[in-house]
């Protein structure tokens, strides 16, 4: 049986599944339920200075849905904890005592002054929590007060605050990054320079989930007005994966531990984050959608997959996909694929045809000999994968690589077995001179 015990910057947990700092971790009540359900750790809902912030009293969440109203993307305009600092600290201490084997990290956000950090850090240390996470991510409300993403968007501030924390506590420091920035590597490098033990990402993305067309109010709306909220859930996973990978493969931050966050919903999502360099994952929306029990699927699924693939421990998985992330210019232009439709699986919906016909390369038939039949015309197929993505039957269309030496019927050229990329391509005005 695969061993999925996790050691993230010295913080141990029985599995790599932590709950992210959010409503599921706002109170001892929720956190104890989470630990009973099997979560390996939690990052407590972000603490701030007293008096606590106040939240809106109207809707604070918005969402978008897929078929059957499956929640795909989620957004919130909630602030950090609105409970008293000392109540939170007392509960943290008690929970850690009751659950010594679980990871308990405390998320913090106080004003950008050293004194503020110096004051709160000993209070957290006293709880015997395992570490702290600096919330430089929150994109709404707190940022208007010079905290959250207002700090996270300025690499110099990130570095400064991280340094204050490292100087004033023995606890491991995890720096949580905002994705509302053009190049995620910049704040990651800054956190690294400040001495952070790890980064965690992504926090939520600025968003408006929709507009109420009866009163033209952006969603979620408070008394007819809306503001941008933080977007999360399955829809943001691809963005998060890329940002994790960017940090994992950046020469300046390579090796910096990463806690992967953003749309993790199943064991598979978690495994993907691990493969792209995350040491563990944090989950919020999936828990808020389905409850804490999903962690059982995540734990079992990850173990079963690792067993099936012969991965003994998390270290066998973490970062394994990082070397395969590269720049576009290094992709092999001699790699040629063609779509192939499995006629036994095809249910003849015609979506591949109309997608390719209307918007791609006219490479799928709709009729063959007067019969409704969908076949790829290899002479036209550019191998773009659109048909695979629109086909409702998984595995029905496959992208098949052409073997070296075979003929690409579209270009009329024989497929080369050599690797050749854009940097040496004749059409590239800046190509590297041929040797």
């Amino acid at each position: 049986m695969a061993d999925i015990r996790s050691n993230f910057v010295g913080i141990k947990s029985p599995n790599p599944f932590w709950l992210a700092s959010a409503p599921p971790t706002d109170k001892a009540y929720n956190v104890e339920r989470a630990f009973k359900a099997g979560w390996g750790g939690v990052v407590w809902k972000t603490l701030g200075e007293n008096p606590p912030v106040v939240n809106v009293n109207g809707p604070r969440y918005g969402a978008i849905w897929g078929a059957d109203r499956r929640l795909l993307g989620f957004n919130n305009i909630e602030l950090i904890t609105d409970r008293d600092l000392y109540v939170n600290l007392r509960e943290i201490k008690q929970v850690k005592k009751t659950w010594p084997d679980r990871a308990l990290v405390v998320s913090l956000m106080v004003p950008c002054q050293e004194e503020a950090w110096k004051t709160i850090l000993p209070l957290v240390e006293e709880t015997e929590a395992d570490g702290i996470e600096l919330n430089f991510g929150c994109p709404h409300g707190m940022s208007e007060r010079g905290m959250g993403s207002a700090v996270g968007q300025v690499p110099e501030y990130v570095e400064m605050v991280v340094r204050w924390c490292k100087q004033n506590t023995r606890m491991p420091v995890i720096t949580k990054l905002t994705p509302n920035i053009t190049d995620i590597r910049k704040p990651a490098r800054a956190a690294h320079a400040g001495g952070t033990d790890a980064v965690s990402l992504i926090n939520t993305i600025n968003s408006i989930t929709g507009v109420d067309l009866d009163n033209f109010a952006p969603q979620p709306a408070i008394d007819g007005k809306g503001t941008h909220g933080g977007y999360c859930g399955p829809a943001v996973k691809p963005i998060a994966l890329n940002m994790v990978a960017e940090i994992a493969r950046d020469p300046e931050t390579r090796g910096l531990p990463i806690s992967g966050i953003g749309g993790v919903t199943t064991w598979r999502d978690a495994a993907e984050f691990l493969a792209l360099g995350a040491g563990n994952v944090q989950v919020c929306t999936a828990a808020m959608t389905y409850g804490f029990k999903i962690v059982q699927e995540m734990i079992e699924g990850l173990k079963n997959w690792m067993d099936a693939k012969g991965h003994a421990s998390l270290d066998d998985v973490i970062g394994r996909a990082v070397p395969n992330v590269t720049d576009w210019q290094y992709l092999n232009l001699n790699y040629v694929t063609k779509a192939r439709i499995d006629q036994d699986l095809c249910i003849k919906c015609g979506r591949c045809h109309i997608a390719c016909e209307d918007t791609s390369h006219q490479a799928i038939t709709s009729q063959v000999n007067g019969e409704r039949r969908f076949e790829v015309i290899e002479e036209e197929c550019v191998g773009c994968n659109l048909c695979v993505n629109v086909c409702p039957v998984e595995g029905c269309i496959e992208m098949v690589p052409l073997a070296a030496g075979s003929l690409d019927k579209r270009t009329g050229k024989v497929v080369s077995g050599d690797y050749a990329n854009w940097t040496t391509h004749p059409n590239n005005p800046m190509k590297v001179a041929a040797e």
Partner: protein, 450 residues
Amino acid sequence: MGDRQHQDGIVAGRLSAEDYARNFADLHPPLDAHEARVEADRCYFCYDAPCMHACPTSIDIPMFIRQIATGDPLGSAKTIFDQNILGGMCARVCPTETLCEEACVREEAEGKPVQIGRLQRYATDAAMAAGRQFYERAAPTGRRVAVVGAGPAGLACAHRLAMHGHAVTIYEAREKPGGLNEYGIAAYKTPGGFAQAEVDYVTAIGGITIENGKALGRELSLTGLAHDFDAVFLAMGLSGVNALKAQGEEAGGVENAVDYIAHLRQASDLSALPIGRRVVVIGGGMTAIDIAVQARLLGAEEVTICYRRGKEHMNASLWEQDLAASKGVVIRHWLQPRRIVAEGGRVKAIELEYTALSEGRLTGTGETLTLKADQVFKAIGQTFEPAALNGSGETVALEGGRIRVDAEGRTSMPKVWAGGDCVAGGDDLTVSAVAQGRDAAESIHRALMG
């Protein structure tokens, strides 16, 4: 249960009032908004959708379902009505299991087609409940068209003609319009006076006058209509019934299924409708199923359908056969009626002969079976009665006993079109009658304006 539940003979009030109400409630209750959204989400929006090709009126099914899914049920209804102005009735009565839903790719994918019929009902109900009319009459053309028969074919034709600005008079032999929608369709498929509500909805476009109680061959002659109007559309359905050819068929208690159903459909109090304790139905089509099921629902204890060929030969779809079985109807195959056993002029039993196919021909084996019966329903097919057409002068050519038409619905007689059950080569479905009525209207319009 009424106290006459187990009484022999043909008696009324076998059941309690609640039983009648429950038995004759909607067979497929309407989808609520949530159910409709969930179901609509299942549609793949297929290209050149197979379901659409399987619909005799070619409704743009993926489009109307997408409109439901995106929260625009009225837009959806218009998409349906554009092709089929009786889309509300068709949603209720179409044998979708052999039409659109059989062709749905999700039938192939997982044996569970998108419930197109119920979604169609959802959208059309929404439009009718909102009283929303989508069509306006074109400027009056001054042309007048006579339509004979206010069934689905006649109504669809009249609506399309009215849209084009022609003035339409429908002559209907019965007291009420609607044709078999009003008098024939099983009660549990279209409860709540829907047929009349739909007639009102269709005729609300204006320019359509219905004259009830006026029959061709009685008050009217075809030559007269052809003389008085610019065009005539014949949509009289089938008013004859095949004979059983069994000895003693005239005995009391032996009835035509369609007549009984018409009675049932018009009954204001089902408990006043007498039904046998042991009922035998002869036939194998939709009518046989409908009378058998409704006999059971009225409280008949034993209902047996006897069909002279095998299960696979029945005109009733498998779904219909299963429905009958689920209501406690027994279907027996390879049996043909030979003799009605009567006592005091009333049926007591029916003697049937086993049949077999030998060299492709159906023959009696000589072996017989006698089933006790206090009521026997004949459901062995309706026929066209051409007598109504035979005025003086020209006659309309027939084919296989029904009116011969070309692809546009033109008969052999100038100015005269026909469609629906009364024409040759159709499949005797409401939806096909609508398609033919609509298409004949377009042909008439072209002829009148050309």
